[in-house]
Amino acid sequence: MSIDKTEELVLNMGPQHPSMHGLFRMIVHLEGETVTEIEPKIGYLHRGIEKLAESRTYTQFIPYTDRLDYLASPHNNWAYVQTVEKLMGVEIPERAEYLRVIFGELARIASHQVMIASTALDIAGWTAWGYAFRDRERILDMYEMTAGSRLTVNCMRIGGMSAEPPAEFWPALESFLDDTPEMLEEYYGIFFGNEIAQGRLKNVGIMPKELAENLSITGPVLRASGVQYDVRKAYPYSIYDRFDFDVPVRYGCDSYDRTIIRMDEIKESVKIIRQAIRDIPEGPIMAKVPKVIKPPVGEVYHRVENPKGELGFYIVSDGSTKPARVRIRPGTFVNLQMLPIVAKGWKIQDVVAIFATLDAVLGEVDK
């Protein structure tokens, strides 16, 4: 007996997603087990950070940026302070630039470890989660040594860094870098090489290159669709033009490539940090900036390569101590648009896998 038509079922997922992405809710329309339509509902974590910025001074706003993508907070600080520096025309000391690169790349590694862990968790691989989180702790310890906090680091200031890393930071960093090849091998063995993981991710949720470009997708998700584009190479900011590294690119366009490309990126980040440790000069870590930050009238847009996508800041200054407008362009908010398009036609369990490979952090999506 054949069934011509199954009754449509509307299923509500969330707002409590059973892993660490945050408060995300989607309404899934199903025909049997096949998805016919997805309506993502966001805003459960909306704090109005852009509005808050208008009533705070430029310096007071730095800690708020930590709360965007809280898994890679040094990167958000970096994007914001660099935008203000660009607006004011501040040159920062060499040592501070190198320290920023080291912290930024450490944040990228930590963020990608969480991504691998949470993807594993979303497709019910509990053990891999533990491995990645164990290693991420070592990066959080390094944050703690320098800035005193583990998640919302707030280690950058307009004009430089907040503090010099202590003496024990450097041996900890060296030993972490020495251990990374072994870590990656472990992740591969327990997660990527696993037959079930490959079955759940390979050839699932195909996003062709043209669709990705048209949807304004950025970051590793774009590079997994075969576009070799990285702001660090294409439009070098800070001192990225001094380092020798590759931009990993994968051509599978599926969930598996979107996940494993983070492994390649961790390798490149390790390369960059090693070169930074080799070249870092002695010297001050703060430029001479006025006590009261008062950028001239003007506007600036600056974007950086966040671990999850491109983060852009558009600041309009009216010449006072408070910005007239701070616009945040979060990478994952724009990337999230691919979910309803790509997940259509897949089974309900694949939707969870596709959403996981976007590596969305709702702190950033909801602002």
Binding site: I42, G43, H46, G48, E50, K51, K86, L87, L211, E213, N214, L215, S216, I217, V227, Y229, A234, Y235, G298, E299, V300, Y301, R303, E310, G312, Y314, V316, R325, R327, R329, F333, V334, L336, Q337, I341, D366, K367
Partner: protein
């Protein structure tokens, strides 16, 4: 540098056709047009010869008290060119063409600009609030939006605690 000269030339040519103004702030070219010319401008910008700005990086609202603006940040995946296009929108009757037909990725960004500034994007397939709830009143990022004073918020909190 050559790339930038070429882009400047193309933008100035286009500005003549769409009644736009060209200026440069901190190394970025800015093209200001009136709202009715948006679709024409952006279609032309997307297919510039040699220097196409074909990647919509960001779309945001901006409140300048006497009028609103929609700011498009355009780049390309194949070159260093970048351009900022601004559409001047009337504050009382903020209507502008949607660019979702040119870039599908403008969908959420336009919904956000509608949510925060009340800008109506004509031709958008699903123009609903995205962050705030559906029956929320007002547009929070407009300069005349009044935030709740902290005294009132504390009063509400006391009343709840007291019960």
């Amino acid at each position: 540098m050559e790339n930038k000269e070429l882009l400047k030339q193309r933008v100035e040519e286009l500005a003549g056709r769409v009644n736009g103004e060209v200026e440069e702030i901190l190394g970025t070219l800015i093209l200001k047009v009136q709202a009715p010319y948006v679709t024409e401008t952006l279609t032309a910008v997307k297919s510039f010869d040699d220097v196409p700005c074909d990647f919509l990086h960001d779309l945001a609202g901006l409140d300048l008290v006497d009028h609103l603006e929609v700011v498009y940040q355009l780049t390309s995946l194949n070159g260093p060119q970048h351009l900022r296009v601004k559409a001047i929108v009337d504050r009382e009757n903020p209507v502008v063409d949607s660019v979702t037909r040119i870039w599908q990725g403008a969908d959420y960004l336009e919904r956000e600009a509608y949510d925060m500034f009340g800008i109506q994007f004509k031709g958008h397939p699903n123009l609903k609030r995205i962050y705030m709830w559906d029956d929320f009143e007002g547009y929070p990022l407009r300069k005349d939006y009044e935030t709740e004073p902290i005294e009132i918020r504390n009063l509400v909190r006391q009343r709840i605690d007291g019960e």
